[in-house]
Symmetry: C2
Subunit: 136 residues, 2 copies
DNA sequence: TCTTGACTTGGATTGCGTCCATCGTAGGAT
DNA sequence: ATCCTACGATGGACGCAATCCAAGTCAAGA
């Protein structure tokens, strides 16, 4: 377990048993869970936790920058606990498998000044698509 | 008006009055409409057209490669009639404005071999985020 | 220990999209 | 020009993901 809980406490996040289990579910994981999957795992640790609470906690973790929202398939959003380490995603068009990847260079730098239209850039999301080895 | 209707006919797309108005709505536009917005505009040209038909036609245009699906906000998908010209998107975090942009170089080439995990890459989507001039 | 404002609950509600049985029609065949 | 029939359109029901809300509960500072 990392120091996610410590960081949250230190930032004044009011700690409840529900928020603790949501954070714990995400902390150990290196996968990309949907809100329902997070809820299912949280229920194992705290049977009475509600869906709404899981949504609330996830939304706050996103605002705090501890978790990233990933929507790669137009269906349920997924939650990526690796938000503190910048990365992009590689998604299998066959089975939906998601891998964290690290492109070379800074993706932001590839948008020429003439293509910025006066915007103040704050970030960039890159989704590579393809077929994983199992899907040929 | 471009030759979208001609291309569709040439590819054996059965032409109905409903499909024609959906194609016409998209053809003149350089914006990124939701399915509901496409339906609203189609209704002006053909009052009795149904939402299901608009969804069907949009789905087929996507499969034909004439229109691209864009989901930049986790809400309704948007339909981009500029699919035949490769491009990426720049999205304003304030007002949701979407602009087509053209990064330098091929985004696919920025994923090193060691980060491809045996995938056969087929494409990449890049979404730049920032604030447009109106949103400061 | 007390107090209070923040958090949780779960059922209702919304938003977006899909499904399906039935009706209508485009376009080839005659 | 007319007929056929397979493909498309219809719209209401349905499903999933997510949010809302009013009432109950509780963490943490005083």
């Amino acid at each position: 377990m990392s120091d996610l809980l410590e960081r949250l406490r230190g930032r004044g996040w009011r700690m409840t048993s529900q928020r603790r289990v949501v954070a714990e579910v995400l902390d150990g994981e290196h996968v990309h869970l949907t809100a329902d999957e997070v809820h299912a795992r949280a229920v194992r640790l705290l049977p009475e936790i509600s869906r709404a609470t899981v949504y609330n906690a996830l939304g706050e973790l996103v605002l705090l920058g501890e978790v990233a929202e990933v929507s790669t398939d137009g269906r349920a959003k997924r939650y990526d606990p690796n938000a503190r380490h910048p990365h992009q995603h590689l998604v299998c068009s066959g089975c939906g498998l998601i891998r964290d990847v690290h492109p070379s260079g800074d993706p932001l730098s590839h948008l020429p000044p003439g293509e910025r239209f006066g915007f103040t850039l704050s970030g960039v999301e890159v989704t590579y698509r393809g077929l994983c080895p199992s899907c040929v």
